[in-house]
């Protein structure tokens, strides 16, 4: 009796091989994982705390981690700049949202379809295409900006909405990761579906996509970040101010604030970084459940 009471009190539910709740033997996991998880969370705390730092703390040496006297001045500075801009900020925000969503959806569809084909279909160029993709994976994207500009110009995509979406559709990293996940799906599953008369499209849509949900969510997070934080395309391929993105706009705010106003610029940059970062965190919180939950019962053994 007494022992049971103690167990209940300490949260120890049973002493079996597979404890359901907390067990004393699990303490070692926490001892190892807790400090490491603190390391993992630090950057996020940092980005929050530096957005609220007054200038003297931002420039303190050695740099301080936590904010001592939090202030909203960085944000009021940022918003006063926003209200002075020629084009309403909502325009940039709208562009960013539409472009990001379009890029995410399109690139997930394109890479997963290509990965399905490369992983489960038999055709001649298959190995060559995958090898080429892996080579392209290695190539530094910035080195192709200028030739890419010429291609985009020739396709007369300059200054259009499409220039934000099309060039990033064929993302080598996405194809690479998704293909690895599809490789893990046993061929038998697909053969069974084929015998039952499923078409290729049906197999792709109803079997492959649900089974690789963790991979899709991962790629979703990666593409979201790439698209949302992309200021480069707006700088290089778009002249029309009303087609540019929020990332571009915020980056101009913080770079033009140099010179005489460098000190205030740092504060505004920190506030802008937080505002740009928040959607990343939100999308992560939404999609991580997909990544984590389906991984444990994806039916692949």
């Amino acid at each position: 009796m007494k022992q049971n009471a103690i167990r209940r009190y300490t949260g120890v539910r049973n002493r079996g091989i597979n404890p359901q709740g907390f067990h004393v033997s699990q303490i070692k996991f926490y001892i190892l994982l807790l400090p490491l998880s603190v390391v993992m969370i630090l950057p996020i705390i940092f980005i929050f705390s530096s957005a609220f730092k007054p200038p003297d703390e931002l420039f303190a040496y050695p740099p301080q981690f936590f904010v001592v006297n939090p202030t909203l001045k960085n944000f009021t500075d940022l918003f006063s700049k926003l209200s002075n801009s020629g084009i309403p900020v909502s325009r940039y925000l709208f562009n960013s949202i539409v472009i990001t969503l379009a890029t995410m959806a399109a690139s997930i569809l394109v890479s997963s379809a290509a990965a399905y084909s490369l992983s489960k279909k038999r055709f001649k160029l298959k190995r060559a295409l995958f090898a080429i993709n892996n080579l392209a994976l290695m190539f530094v994207p910035i080195a192709v900006t200028i030739p890419r500009f010429l291609v985009i110009e020739r396709l007369s995509l300059l200054n259009t909405f499409w220039v934000h979406v099309l060039p990033v559709l064929a993302m080598p990293v996405g194809l690479f990761l998704i293909k690895q996940f599809i490789d893990g799906i046993p061929d038998e599953v697909i053969e069974a579906a084929q015998i039952d008369g499923a078409s290729d499209w049906w197999i792709y849509w109803r079997i492959i996509l649900p089974m690789i949900r963790p991979a899709i969510a991962t790629i979703g997070i990666l593409t979201f970040q790439a698209a949302w934080n992309n200021a480069e395309i707006s700088t290089l391929y778009v002249n029309d101010e009303s087609l540019r993105t929020l990332a571009f706009y915020l980056s101009t705010l913080t770079t033009t604030a140099t010179g005489a106003n460098a000190v205030a610029g740092q504060g505004v940059a920190a506030a802008a970084a937080l505002i740009m970062f928040l959607p990343n965190l939100i999308i992560f919180i939404f999609l991580q459940r997909q990544v984590m939950s389906t991984m444990s019962h994806s039916g692949l053994k």
Binding site: N18, S37, S117, R122, L129, M138, P147, R148, Q225, F284
Partner: protein, 294 residues
């Protein structure tokens, strides 16, 4: 319309499967060819030319391999940056892999709050790309410069042979940064750990295998494919990291009066070559190991 009826049976199953395969990959191939392959070919063309940009046009004059020889033999910075990058990558990759593997094995166990920990260790995926890491490196928070100047550490570093000093110092100062690169890798390991049937562990345990033996004989071999994938992914993310010094240098050279597009293209191709060699080494090494395990 009779044509359709008479043609259809002539397409063999194999051809049809190939056609479907091409169909699924078509859009990707188009996008890839237009926005990656074509610009790549163009970049290579630039790299063997002296490129001068005027307001009206881009002028090329063929210089053979002059840009490459200049990068490798005359440029005072580039080779040094490349060597630094190679050392950093060779140090980081095993650490990321081992760290990710250990964490994944922990997260695969059953204990309370395991879900929370999984999320936390996946969190770096939103840190290493985008504004966060830029802000962090700008503030000097990504490295721990204090560590390298501690007297004990300085003394320790001086004891080491020269060749070892740089990697060890890099390891000490950017250990945290390396850990932040392991989000996706942990996920990949975790997903392949979950494919291992738990009854295999039980069977091994009943046969008297210690957990140490289970790790070397069962877990590690089943992670060999995931390790290759992770190694590739780690090298790629490290090399494309926006704060990477080589990339910054190439970027600066593109708009530099001394450098120019042709020179920067040559630099990019050399960097590309170094990356492929690195990847080849890691790949061969891991494949050898995976084969021996199998």
């Amino acid at each position: 319309m009779t044509g359709r009826g008479s043609f259809r049976p002539e397409i063999s199953l194999r051809v049809r499967e190939a056609l479907h395969g091409y169909g699924f990959i078509l859009i990707w191939v188009l996008g890839f060819a237009l926005f990656t392959a074509l610009p790549l070919a163009q970049t290579f063309h630039y790299s063997v030319n002296q490129v001068t940009v005027t307001a009206a046009s881009i002028n090329l004059s063929f210089v053979e391999w002059a840009n490459y020889t200049r990068a490798l033999f005359t440029d005072p910075n580039f080779v040094e940056l490349l060597v630094g990058y190679t050392i950093e990558t060779l140090v980081s990759v095993p650490i990321v892999l081992i760290f990710a593997m250990i964490i994944a094995m922990f997260l695969n166990l059953k204990f309370r709050l395991k879900g929370v920990f999984r999320v936390i260790f996946f969190l770096p995926i939103v840190i290493t790309s985008g504004p966060v890491i830029k802000e962090l490196t700008a503030q000097g928070a990504a490295s721990a410069p204090g560590i390298a100047s501690l007297p004990a550490v300085v003394e320790f570093l001086e004891q080491l042979p020269r060749a070892l000093r740089t990697p060890v110092e890099y390891l000490l100062t950017s250990f945290i940064l390396i850990l932040w690169f392991s989000g996706v890798q942990i996920l990949i390991y975790l997903s392949s750990l979950q494919k291992v049937d738990r009854s295999i562990y039980e069977a091994a345990a009943i046969d008297g295998a210690s957990s140490w033996e289970i790790f070397w004989k069962i877990i590690l071999p089943s992670l060999s494919t995931a390790t290759v994938v992770n190694a590739v992914y780690t090298i790629v993310t490290l090399s494309h990291f926006s704060e990477n010094k080589v990339i910054r240098y190439i970027y600066d050279q593109t708009y530099d009066v001394q450098g120019g597009i042709g020179y920067a293209s040559a630099l990019a191709f050399i960097y590309f070559g170094v990356m492929i060699i690195l990847l080849g080494i890691v790949y061969l090494f891991l494949m050898q190991w995976a084969k021996r395990k199998a």
